[in-house]
């Protein structure tokens, strides 16, 4: 079945793998076939018809984008006839296309412009009566149907890769147009991928429109700094080298192969501005010299983390970062069973999967990269995707095939049930088998609210699956039974075909967890320096800092993303203030450049001794991701054993779940200008009724030792007694389990 197909293209012998099309094989062999509608990451749109080729012995042309080759086929990609037809298609595309290239945002990087020139369409014989077409404003996105060539790329990516399925082609011959699907206005997550793939200026960022010419912008390749997906992007900057007021005008991605979410695309102006103030700087150095601890966030580069580690050694202070510490603890427990340091899965593994379990997180908003990988697996592989969580997510509905709704806090029990089913026939040691034999399945099912028949259905749906992935979200890391959960995950990975992805909660949680020896945050009353975090003296790239430092789009360095990949990022905008390097130097650490840290990152953690400037940072023409490197696997001692499952806790009354709305992740996305900021607590009608509140009311929410005030928003898409509490506008201690028992009071402020 998997045999290759040998054929020729323009006389060159080529080989096609099963499932490949003629166009794909041609491109792999660097043979050019023109297209206007083809995009590698989706099924062929097949609308432009430019990619027709000739096949020896056949009358008529064959469409290369959706035709697989046959053995011995002889393909010709160019001839007078093909040229004529392709030219005619370009002439057709140009009929009534508005001649507004002078102001069109796409000008200079427009496929229509390029191909019109390529085919030398200097005049137009054909004419058709044009029809009025109304420009639409869809919030962050503008659509001009007069410019649209109906290639359908936008519709394909929205459905097949992103999963919003928010736009549709309205059929009707010459009046065909793109419309919001089943809706008057666009209802989507505003990833803006439709803008990215639009070959003309029809879909455009409303913020960017008419602000710059494509050729005035400098491109800075970087890694997105909002979540752990580590998406590649380019900051497009105007004014570099000329003006000190340089700013990022927009963000673009290599849409042929990669995706970006809306926060990555539209949330780029989180850069920090500061001048050097020596007095503040001295205070900072003093604060660190006398500090008992530095508390920091995972929104930093590996190099910053490394230098903080240097400060730790220098002054013997403690390093607090609960987010990374919990991740490290989780992975340590995992390693004690798996015998290796890193989880085996990746976003790519998810994209290839045909069976996935997602558990313990609200993945669509926690990590859109993973969501898009799941969407791809769902559409392209027909993947069976089981989503286990106490709260449904409407965004995942068209992706998941089974929802396992468990009770908050019962994660350990659920993992045991899953492992028990998955490892039913696995070759376990007697001890391990005894653990499963001793499970009180009845109790676990009853308390977690997962039925045995649900687990059986899941296993049945996986029967034909060949590529399986378990995705474990960050609910698990702060769980009181995190270690045992981690061991169960390791068991599944070790003894079944499942690969494992443990989702880091912040952009560089994983990197920090590998670089720093972290201490338990004792919440000391004084002498704590905050580094992008709270403290008695705050050094931060956010507002209200005692000393300002650059944001992540103003630094070079590396992150480690969810794929265990070390990814370089670059300076998009200059920063005129001080940096951690200045502080470290002032503290007496010998260090010349920040990026000198890159190659000294700990090889025992899997880092490679590669200098920053030697890191590759590009996607090949065929889509190979040549950014940075993947961490080396590291063997670990296997001394962990499974603990018996603890009694499952119960959560009663109104519960809140810390979870951000789409487009928001953290304090940085919160500072950007284009992203919507919905800070309301969103809950179901059932939640409203037990909390005795109603839509639009101002409420006071108490959890742990904190009290915050929010508006309550009734969300028709939610069910149950758990409401979603955003964290991007309030710092929530990462050591807290994401579900919280809470007290809710109506605020009456008359």
């Amino acid at each position: 079945m998997s045999k290759t197909i040998n054929f020729t293209i323009d006389g060159v012998s080529v080989e096609g793998a099963r499932g490949e099309t003629i166009l794909q094989v041609a491109r792999k062999n660097d043979i050019y076939i023109p297209t206007m509608c083809y995009i590698s990451k989706t099924t062929p749109c097949a609308s432009c018809r430019m990619c027709v080729v000739e096949a020896q012995g056949l009358d008529g042309f064959v469409l290369s984008c959706n035709t697989p080759p046959t053995e011995g086929l002889e393909i010709t990609t160019n001839s007078t006839e093909l040229e004529r037809e392709r030219t005619n298609i370009m002439k057709l595309y140009d009929v009534n296309h508005p001649l507004e290239c002078g102001v069109c945002d796409k000008s200079g990087e427009c496929d229509l412009q390029n191909k019109t020139l390529e085919f030398n369409v200097g005049q137009q014989n054909f004419a058709a009566k044009d029809i009025p077409r109304k420009i639409e404003n869809w919030g962050l996105i503008n659509y001009d149907p007069a410019l649209c060539i109906l290639c359908e790329k936008c519709v394909h990516v929205c459905n097949e890769v992103i999963g919003d399925d928010a736009i549709d082609v309205k059929f009707g011959g010459y009046s065909s147009t793109i419309i919001p699907k089943n809706n008057d206005k666009l209802d989507c997550t505003y990833c803006g991928e439709c803008i990215a793939v639009c070959p003309v200026g029809a879909l455009i960022s409303s913020d960017f429109q008419y602000t710059a010419n494509a050729w005035e912008l400098s491109r800075v390749p970087a890694t997105c700094a909002h979540c752990s997906a580590g998406c590649s992007l380019e900051y497009e900057v105007k004014g570099v080298g000329i003006s000190r007021d340089a700013s990022i005008y927009r963000v673009k991605n290599n849409f042929e192969y990669t995706n970006l979410c809306g926060a990555g695309r539209f949330g780029f102006d989180f850069d920090n501005k500061a001048e050097k103030n020596p007095a503040d700087f001295h205070k900072a150095v003093e604060a660190i010299s006398s500090a008992k601890a530095i508390r920091f966030s995972s929104m930093i580069t590996n190099e910053e983390a490394y230098m903080l580690g240097e400060l730790k050694s220098k002054f013997g202070l403690k390093l607090f970062n609960e987010d990374a510490r919990l991740y490290a603890e989780f992975m340590k427990a995992y390693s004690s069973v798996s015998g290796k340091k890193h989880h085996s899965g990746s976003q790519d593994a998810i994209r290839q999967a045909d069976a996935v379990i997602v558990i313990g997180g609200r993945i669509a908003t926690d990590n859109p990269g993973v969501r898009y990988a799941l969407t791809t697996a769902s559409r392209h592989n027909g993947a069976k995707i089981v989503y286990a969580h106490p709260i449904e997510d409407a965004l995942m509905k068209n992706t998941i095939t089974q929802f396992l709704k468990y009770e908050a806090a019962s994660e350990e029990g659920v993992m045991a049930l899953l492992a028990n089913a998955i490892l039913k026939d696995a070759d376990l040691s007697d001890e391990e088998r005894a653990f499963f034999n001793d499970l009180d399945l009845g109790y676990l099912c009853a308390e977690s609210n997962i039925g045995e028949e649900e687990i059986a259905l899941m296993m049945q749906s996986f029967t034909r699956a060949k590529n399986r992935v378990l995705v474990v979200g960050s609910d698990m890391m702060a769980h009181s039974r995190a270690k045992n959960i981690a061991k169960l995950c390791a068991m599944i990975e070790k003894y079944s075909e499942f690969s494992l992805v443990v989702v880091p909660s912040q952009v560089n949680t994983l990197g920090v967890s590998l670089i720093n020896e972290l201490d338990i945050d004792e919440e000391l009353a004084d002498n704590v320096v905050g580094y992008n975090a709270s403290g008695n003296f705050v050094i931060s790239s956010l507002e209200f800092a005692n000393l300002a430092i650059p944001s992540l789009n103003q630094q070079e360095g590396t992150f480690v993303n969810i794929d265990n990949k070390v990814l370089p990022t670059n300076v998009a905008l200059a920063f005129d203030g001080y940096t951690l390097l200045d502080i470290v130097q002032a503290c007496g650490v010998k260090r010349e450049n920040t990026i000198d840290c890159t190659k000294v990152l700990d090889t025992k953690a899997g880092f490679k001794a590669v200098a920053f400037d030697d890191l590759e940072n590009f996607l090949s023409a065929h889509g190979d991701d040549n950014r940075g490197y993947i961490l080396d696997e590291v063997a670990c001692e296997m001394n962990g054993t499974l603990d018996s499952i603890d009694d499952l806790a119960e959560f009663n009354g109104p519960v809140i779940y810390h979870s951000n709305p789409v487009l928001q992740f953290n304090a940085y996305t919160n500072t950007t200008s284009q992203l919507e900021r919905d800070t309301s607590l969103r809950g179901s009608a059932q939640f409203a009724s037990i909390a005795k509140i109603s839509d639009g009311e101002k409420i006071e929410i108490s959890f742990g030792s904190r009290t915050i005030v929010r508006e309550f928003k009734l969300d028709e898409e939610l069910k149950g007694t758990i409401a979603l509490n955003p964290t991007f506008d309030i710092a929530v201690d990462s050591s807290r389990y994401r579900f919280e028992k809470s007290k809710i009071m109506r605020v009456t402020n008359e």
């Binding site: 499932g19 018809r49 057709l92 060539i149 399925d165 010459y174 065909s176 045909d354 027909g382 998941i400």
Partner: protein
């Protein structure tokens, strides 16, 4: 044959210009020269040419209106560059000439654009729309030139005229339910499974079912066959339905339910025909009461088709989808003649969709129902399926009559002979295997080739694999019993003797070859007939010669006004898709009848019938523009050693990879036909 003034249909060239009408050469094709009861056609134009039925037709406007159809009415278009722009240019240029403003260069542009469309368009509409237009431009060049040179409008440019268009495809035409097959395959190809399902449900509410157990007559009319092998059309239908079920969506209805219009209909029977009629009538705002004799819905697909072929949880979804449109199901209600009389008073119309649930006799000697071990296929399958699907136990009387050891159909150690050759008999023998029978024999009068033609290749081979013995060219002569307990069968052998006069070969009994076979059961599955005990005798409903309800096969009204019939009770035992198609049309007629008391067809339905008569699929057509040799995908089936012992669905369906590869083979053979009436 049709009388034409001019025709280029399917490569013929008939030009009767200048000849007196009685000398006109006729077309070889069933062209729609008469549109309906009160209108003659003036012209017919379509993918394969153009025919004029009289001299007076304005050919320029005809071409222009045809191009307009492509632009205005075709939902399929606007999806490729040559079609979207080219189609508009065709229309604009033709309109320019027709209104008297054309130039000679326009003719060249038309030809150039037409050719590009023919070569590069995405679907056959784009490829074929230029065909008749270019024909008219060639054969009536003088007419075009006259308008251009004299800058005058075409002869009837400013007059009212009636143009009626219809989109079809060879597969759609061949499907009794006229499902938009290229549409649902496109949905799969584009990974828009909701669109795929809605395309199916426009005319076929039973998407799960007909994605599994349809004998797919469409595949016999698949144009891809002309190139290599037909598309696996049926199997691709499942994807949309599975998508809806897997993702736990509310039902995707392709049409919005209209507000209640105060009209009521009764439907007798909740099988495929009854369900289909109920769905579309309910969607139209008619209140529907659907009466079902059994305690379960779904008719023969529920109690006849076994679980391993049509899992109940999937069929249940189809039934729920119908229910979701707002249908009142009245179960456990065997409709009587009195009920029928009452229905006539209380409802605005009635549809009989009661199927054929009486097993016909084998016609052998000593064929007496009281012999234990003689068990009609319908009754046999009822009890097998009711137990397997609903845990309903076989009643005491049947247990005793059929010598069952317990309260379900357990054939352990028994020998079963079935006489048949169609789907029902296949279900009987394969269920018998699963019920533990020691030996299962199918006795069939004709040969292997015929049984495959009457069922499917897969069905036959899977049965053979499971251990069913097929005895061809045989028929039961006598049932041998001891004290009314079946012991054996005498089976005659036949041979095919060619007719010396060149007619059909005859089956001739081989004397002395009769064999005695010991059996415990004889299950006749030769055919079924309808039980019409619920029809009031005084209605004297007209019957066909094969004892089914007679209609004209177009509007499905019986000889009694307001009483309609669809499905097996009308046609005789036939396929699910046939029942669906009839019921869909019947429901459409009824939805108008309840308001007007008139029996009418829509233009779309009239055109549908014209095209079926004309035949859309041309198996001799040479296909260009597609690469041959791409194999039809085969879905995986459960291993015989596993499936023999249980009722798991045998056909696992396509993997996504297989489905996408298969969908990519579809050539989107949409066509537009148009009549000027």
């Amino acid at each position: 044959m049709a009388k034409v003034y001019f025709s280029t249909w399917n490569g013929e060239l008939i030009n009767n210009a200048g000849k007196p009408e009685e000398e006109w050469e006729e077309s070889a094709y069933n062209l729609p020269a008469t549109y309906d009861d009160h209108r003659d056609s003036k012209a017919f134009i379509g993918w394969d040419g153009v025919s004029l039925f009289n001299e007076d037709v304005d050919v320029i406007r005809l071409a222009m209106e045809y191009a307009a159809q492509y632009q205005v009415y075709s939902e399929a278009c606007g999806r490729c560059a040559p079609g979207r722009w080219g189609g508009q240019i065709l229309y604009d240029q033709l309109d320019k000439i027709a209104r008297g403003e054309g130039a000679v260069a326009d003719l060249d542009h038309l030809k150039e654009i037409g050719k590009s469309m023919q070569i590069t368009s995405k679907c056959e509409i784009g490829k074929t729309v230029p065909n008749p237009i270019l024909d008219l431009m060639t054969h009536f060049e003088d007419v075009f030139m006259d308008c251009i040179e004299n800058q005058k409008p075409s002869k009837h440019y400013n007059q009212d005229a009636s143009y009626i268009a219809k989109i079809t495809a060879p597969c759609t035409d061949a499907c009794p339910a006229h499902v938009d097959i290229p549409g649902y395959i496109e949905g799969v190809r584009d990974l828009r499974f909701d669109d795929s399902l809605e395309a199916t449900r426009q005319t076929m509410p039973l998407a799960h079912t007909c994605g599994r157990v349809c004998p797919h007559p469409c595949e016999d009319a698949c144009r891809r066959t002309n190139l290599d092998e037909p598309i696996s059309i049926m199997a691709l239908k499942r994807l949309g339905a599975d998508w809806e079920t897997d993702h736990d969506y509310n039902f995707f209805h392709p049409l919005e339910k209209k507000p209640a219009n105060g009209k009521k209909v009764a439907i007798v029977g909740a099988g495929p025909a009854g369900l289909t009629a109920a769905y579309y009538l309910a969607a139209d705002g008619v209140e529907v009461d659907c009466y079902e004799e059994l305690s379960v819905l779904g008719g023969e697909v529920t109690v006849g088709v076994p679980e391993y072929r049509m899992p109940w949880d999937k069929y249940q979804k189809d039934i729920e989808c119908v229910g979701d449109m707002g249908v009142n199901f009245i179960m456990n209600h065997k409709v009587s003649a009195d009920d029928m009389r009452r229905f006539e008073k209380e409802y605005d119309a009635t549809m009989i969709a009661s199927g054929t649930r009486l097993s016909k006799k084998v016609r052998c000697d000593n064929e007496r129902p009281e012999i234990q071990g003689y068990w009609g296929a319908i009754d046999f399958l009822d009890w097998v399926n009711l137990y397997e699907k609903f845990d309903i136990k076989t009643p005491k009387a049947t247990q005793e009559q059929q010598m069952l050891p317990g309260d379900f159909v357990d054939l352990t150690g028994k020998t079963v002979a079935c006489v048949g050759g169609g789907f029902t008999s296949m279900d009987v023998v394969r269920c018998s295997i699963r019920a533990g029978a020691k030996r299962v024999i199918m006795i069939y009068r004709r040969d292997e080739k015929t049984i495959i033609r009457n069922t499917t290749y897969e069905e036959y081979h899977e049965a053979v694999e499971e251990g069913v013995e097929f005895i061809f060219h045989s028929a039961v002569n006598t049932m041998i019993d001891e004290d009314n307990v079946l012991k054996a069968l005498d089976v005659d052998k036949f041979e095919l003797v060619p007719d010396p006069d060149g007619g059909r070969p005859q089956l001739v009994k081989i004397e002395g070859a009769t064999e005695r076979i010991e059996v415990d059961y004889l299950i006749p599955a030769v055919s079924q007939s309808a039980d019409f005990s619920h029809l009031p005798e005084e209605w004297e409903l007209e019957m066909t010669s094969w004892a089914s309800l007679k209609t004209n096969g177009k509007d499905y009204m019986t000889s009694r006004k307001g009483v309609f019939a669809a499905g097996d009770c009308e046609y005789g035992p036939m396929t699910i898709v046939n029942a669906v198609g009839q019921a869909k049309r019947g429901a459409s007629v009824m939805s108008r009848y309840v308001h007007t008391g008139e029996v009418t067809l829509t233009d779309d339905e009239i055109m549908e019938d014209h095209l079926t008569k004309l035949k859309v699929y041309d198996k001799k057509e040479k296909i260009t523009g597609w690469l041959p040799g791409l194999a039809r995908q085969q879905s995986e089936i459960v291993d015989v050693d596993i499936r023999k012992f249980n009722n798991v669905e045998v056909n696992m369906g396509f993997t996504q990879e297989e489905a996408l590869a298969e969908a990519d083979r579809c050539m989107r053979c949409y066509y537009i036909a148009m009549v000027q009436a």
